[in-house]
């Protein structure tokens, strides 16, 4: 299979997905077979995708083919250059592991839902994403984009017994469809400007268009793709939609699908548009800063584990946008080298986030599968019952908290470097935007760490807080393979960050004005350092010395304290018996931060006290306190807009009054009006 060309590999993988989809649908009756078929073919297809992407990235076998369709203007044009290949690699990689995971995970749907449909939609979804990142023609792109959204919508509402899932799906589909409307408008404008729908042709014809149109296109595209990427304030669908889907799909949506929005932003802002004005980059930077900070804050206020992870996706999209934004700024300031650096950082964080976020979602899914709840407050002590899952989840938490020596650290370090170099090298306004973005990133890192101490601690540590948690068991092998591989990847990507970034620099250097520009940094296997010697880092070094220090500590401590005994005893319990209710709750853990950022989060607190003695009100029977955060966007942004439209529609409905004379009057008036209008 290795000696196929990238092109044939690509189409083979598409074919495999198609076979998987159809076959699963046909096997629909038999849950077990349908599940196996769908996921197996999913694995094989993803493998094909990986190989194709690898051949493009390393053998340089770019290709771009197009077939005529039976419709005018529409050409099925597939265009696989470095950027597409990179995203294709990410998608296929995660899809591969998600499919392995799903082999075991989907078991608990048996007999409940039709696994054939699941397999069909799942393969369709993956194929759709692959097509999105390889489509070279605007109409074709919009079609596959919609197909991807459609498949993901059906996956979100797959567990349709639950009302909330349906609601989440509805919101998601509405939002993404409105986003698509913006995208289509952007494409139409691009066509008006360039007279073509092929991205490659647009790129060449776009040179001398008036900047105002470019700005309109920029805003439209930002809104359209930002909706899919889940930037604040267009994110409202994300925290409810991602958790609703089956876990392997949540992993794909959160880890990969939202990246297609990023892909198109890069494609359009960095590749299609030659010289973008400065403020675009600044806007992207600010959006990134806001999204990252608010995303992590909302995550802290969540105690539904999947929603928490979803909010972290928003945060990480923000971080990616910080990289992208800085790259755009540098590009407009004509500093190719730094632009390449920023873009490479963004791409690397895209890859990293895909890896550890899907890992975390899978861990959460395993926990949910065993405890049948998404509420963190009902977990606890799972590290004893499901040690391996706990370990993998811990790795993921460290990676997403950007702790060395894992991959998250290096990409955030790189983005930091991009932002730092921005502070000195741009104008006054730009510098301040850079400073504040760096500040946002700094706080984001710390808050993310806090959030994952909360998530991991309340989920896996201490004592079980509910009966389900007591009954939990370790999950099946296939799930552990999926998670384990990803956990390994976080470390490998971290240690091999240098070589990987070399490749990413090549990817970034193949775009628009960055043609064969050198990066502002040297990436080596052992170390990477910025050309201006501002900073240098050696990930293997960190890992090695950390292990060394650990070993030394162990040896010394063991040597000195061999003879001291270790007793297992009960926790100091102030004389009472310890109950799970004495442990800190997730809500309690993050309460302090929420109070500190109360101005932004607007926490609400409802207390319902019930007394044993209603007249004396002295002995409390129950005291229920529910802490929430106000839905700012719903109440200030979307709510009013919706009200406005609905009021308008109420007025419109007055037309249909039911009175026939009125109806005839409309005709009459139209007639007279038109005739008069005609003469005037």
């Amino acid at each position: 299979m290795l000696n196929f060309s990238s092109q044939s590999l690509f189409f083979i993988s598409l074919l495999l997905f198609a076979v998987g989809a159809i076959g699963a649908l046909l096997l629909g009756k038999n849950d077990r077979k349908a599940n196996a078929w769908g996921n197996m073919l999913g694995c094989m297809g993803s493998l094909g995708g990986i190989l194709a992407a690898v051949r493009v990235l390393f053998w340089g076998e770019k290709f771009s083919v197009s077939f005529d369709s039976s419709f005018p203007l529409i050409r099925l044009s597939f265009h696989l250059d470095n950027l597409s290949a990179f995203f294709m690699l990410v998608i296929s990689l995660i899809a591969l592991l998600a499919s392995i995971y799903a082999l075991g995970y989907a078991k608990h749907f048996f007999g409940k839902y039709n696994l054939g449909t699941l397999g069909f939609l799942y393969n369709l979804f993956i194929a759709g994403m692959l097509l999105v990142v390889t489509a070279g023609n605007a109409i074709f792109f919009s079609i596959v984009w919609e197909i991807m959204s459609l498949a993901s919508y059906f996956l979100v509402v797959f567990d349709r017994q639950d009302k909330n899932n349906v609601k989440a799906g509805t919101l998601y589909f509405v939002m993404t469809h409105i986003g698509t409307a913006f995208i289509i408008l952007a494409f139409l404008l691009l066509y008006k400007l360039t007279g073509s729908l092929d991205f490659s042709v647009m790129k060449n014809n776009l040179g001398q268009t008036p900047v105002i149109f470019k700005n309109i296109v920029f805003v439209l595209a930002l809104v359209g793709f930002g909706t899919k990427a889940g930037i604040i304030p267009l994110h409202i669908w994300l925290p409810s939609a991602h958790p609703a889907a089956p876990t392997q799909v949540s992993a794909l949506m959160s880890g990969v699908m939202i990246k297609t929005g990023i892909y198109m932003m890069i494609r359009i802002f960095m590749d299609v548009f030659p010289g973008a004005p400065l403020w675009w980059g600044l806007v992207i930077l600010s959006i990134g800063a806001v999204s990252s900070l608010l995303g992590v804050l909302y995550a802290l206020s969540e105690h539904d584990i999947k929603r928490l992870l979803a909010y972290h996706s928003i945060e990480n999209i923000g971080i990616i946008l910080l990289g992208l934004g800085s790259a755009m700024v540098f590009l407009s300031l004509d500093m190719q080298a730094l632009a390449v650096l920023g873009l490479a950082a963004a791409l690397f964080h895209t890859l990293n986030h895909a890896v550890f976020k899907s890992l975390l979602f899978m861990g959460a899914g395993s926990v949910i599968a065993k405890t049948h709840t998404r509420n963190i407050e009902e977990y606890g002590g799972l590290i004893h019952l499901m040690p391996q899952t706990a370990f993998f989840f811990l790795i993921g938490s460290m990676a997403i908290s950007a702790l060395p020596p894992f991959n998250g650290f290096f990409s955030e370090w790189l983005i930091f470097q991009a932002l730092f170099s921005g502070i000195n090298s741009a104008g006054l306004l730009a510098s301040w935007v850079f400073i504040l973005s760096a500040g946002a990133l700094a706080f984001t890192g710390g808050l993310a760490a806090a959030c994952f101490v909360k998530a991991f601690g309340t989920t896996f540590l201490a004592r079980p807080r509910s009966e389900e948690a007591k009954q939990a068991k370790e999950v099946d092998l296939s799930l552990r393979i999926g998670m384990g591989t990803l956990a390994g990847l976080t470390l490998v990507l971290g240690v091999l960050a240098g070589p990987i970034c070399k490749v990413l620099v090549r990817v970034a250097g193949s775009l628009g004005n960055l043609q064969n520009a050198q990066a502002a940094a040297n990436f080596g296997i052992f170390s990477s350092h910025l050309k201006n010697n501002f900073a240098a880092l050696s990930m293997p070094g960190i890992l090695f010395f950390l292990l060394l220090a650990l070993a030394v500590t162990f040896v010394l401590v063991y040597g000195t304290t061999r003879k001291q005994k270790v007793k297992i005893g009960r926790v100091w319990d102030c004389g009472t018996d310890l109950s799970p209710r004495m442990e800190i709750t997730a809500t309690g853990f993050s309460r302090a931060i929420i109070t500190i950022f109360g101005g932004i989060l607007q926490p609400t607190k409802q207390t319902a006290v019930e007394y044993r003695d209603a007249d004396m009100r002295y002995f409390k029977k129950t005291n229920v306190v529910s802490l929430k955060t106000k839905d700012v966007y719903g109440s200030y942004l979307y709510g009013p807009g919706q009200k406005l439209v609905e009021r308008f529609s109420r007025y419109t409905k007055k037309i249909q009054s039911g009175n026939i004379n009125a109806y005839i009057l409309y005709i009459f008036m139209t007639l007279i009006a038109l005739i008069i209008f005609l003469v005037i």
């Binding site: 760096a438 710390g446 201006n532 950390l546 220090a549 005893g569 100091w572």
Partner: protein, 309 residues
């Protein structure tokens, strides 16, 4: 000679840290008109703890057992990559200030986890408070370093130390602002007044102590020692980045002199801390964020001054 300096560099932090803990305690005692324990008391405490048996909670997992080693190892590593007495033992691939910050974050991460692991009420809120303060302090720390980095066109701590020592007075002034910010972060990170009271086990006030409440024996020793290391690391950074005078620039006799300088400068910082701790009271928990944001803002202002003037 190089080997010697390297051994000094590696051992300085873990060896000296208990001493300075003792020094601070002594100074506090004196300022409060007490006799106070000898400045070598911390060494004795560590030895005592290492020789004790230990009890581990039945609910605790391997994280509880593993965390102390990691935390201590991290402080060792950091101790090796920051400038202590010399500017020439630069190892440029690790002594980047972001590495230091995030390695510290790694330690804090595991400290908080181990605090929650035993499942006692104290550990929980201890970790909560610790993570809150750490998260908010991070911005201040990174930015106080970032204020220095542009001046020396490098994020390498040794480079920074080198350039700062050559600054004119006028260029130097804005840095004092960043220094103030860094000091606030220092107090916060090391559980000092007005953020935390290192000497109390009163549940309303304690943060660091609450987390390690379940520890005993060698693991407690490791954690205490690591805490001492951490505070010395911060003080070393404070003196060597902001006032990097008298540091050895070559591996000759000046090393000894530099070491003396180092001890002297750190003692001054210790005095400052002791003074603060015996003059002001601990702040209410929800007033601490103001301080931390202040430290961040101070550093931001510094950056503004440096980049635009």
């Amino acid at each position: 000679m190089l080997i010697l300096t390297w051994t000094i560099q590696l051992l300085a932090i873990p060896v000296l840290s208990p001493l300075f803990t003792g020094v601070i305690r002594k100074m506090k005692a004196r300022m409060q008109n007490r006799q106070g324990a000898s400045i070598f008391q911390p060494y004795k405490d560590l030895r005592k703890l290492f020789n004790k048996d230990e009890i581990i909670s039945q609910d605790a997992s391997w994280i509880f057992r593993f965390a102390p080693y990691l935390i201590f190892a991290v402080t060792l590593l950091i101790g090796a990559i920051i400038p202590i007495f010399s500017t020439y033992v630069a190892n440029q691939y690790l002594s980047n200030f972001l590495v230091v910050v995030y390695l510290l974050a790694l330690a804090t991460f595991f400290l908080a986890l181990s605090g929650m692991d035993a499942g006692s009420a104290f550990g929980g809120f201890g970790s909560s408070r610790e993570m809150t303060i750490a998260a908010l302090a991070e911005g201040g720390i990174i930015f106080s370093f970032l204020a220095l980095a542009p001046i020396s066109r490098s994020g390498n701590l040794f480079e920074i130390a080198k350039t700062i020592s050559t600054l004119q007075f006028m260029q130097f002034m804005p840095i004092t602002l960043a220094f103030a910010g860094f000091m606030l972060a220092l107090l916060a990170e090391n559980g000092r007044f007005p953020f935390d009271n290192p000497a109390t086990h009163l549940e309303l006030t304690m943060i660091h102590e609450a987390m390690i409440l379940e520890y005993s024996g060698k693991r407690l020793a490791l954690i205490e020692w690591a805490a001492a290391n951490k505070s010395l690391i911060f003080m070393a950074l404070a003196v060597n980045l902001f006032f990097p005078w008298g540091m050895a620039s070559a591996g000759d006799g000046s090393v000894l002199l530099a070491l003396l300088w180092f001890v002297a400068k750190v003692s001054v910082i210790c005095a400052g801390i002791a003074f603060v701790e015996s003059t002001i009271a601990k702040f209410r928990y929800f007033r601490l964020p103001d301080l931390l944001f202040t430290s961040f803002i101070l550093s931001v202002i510094t950056i503004g001054l440096i980049t635009f003037f």
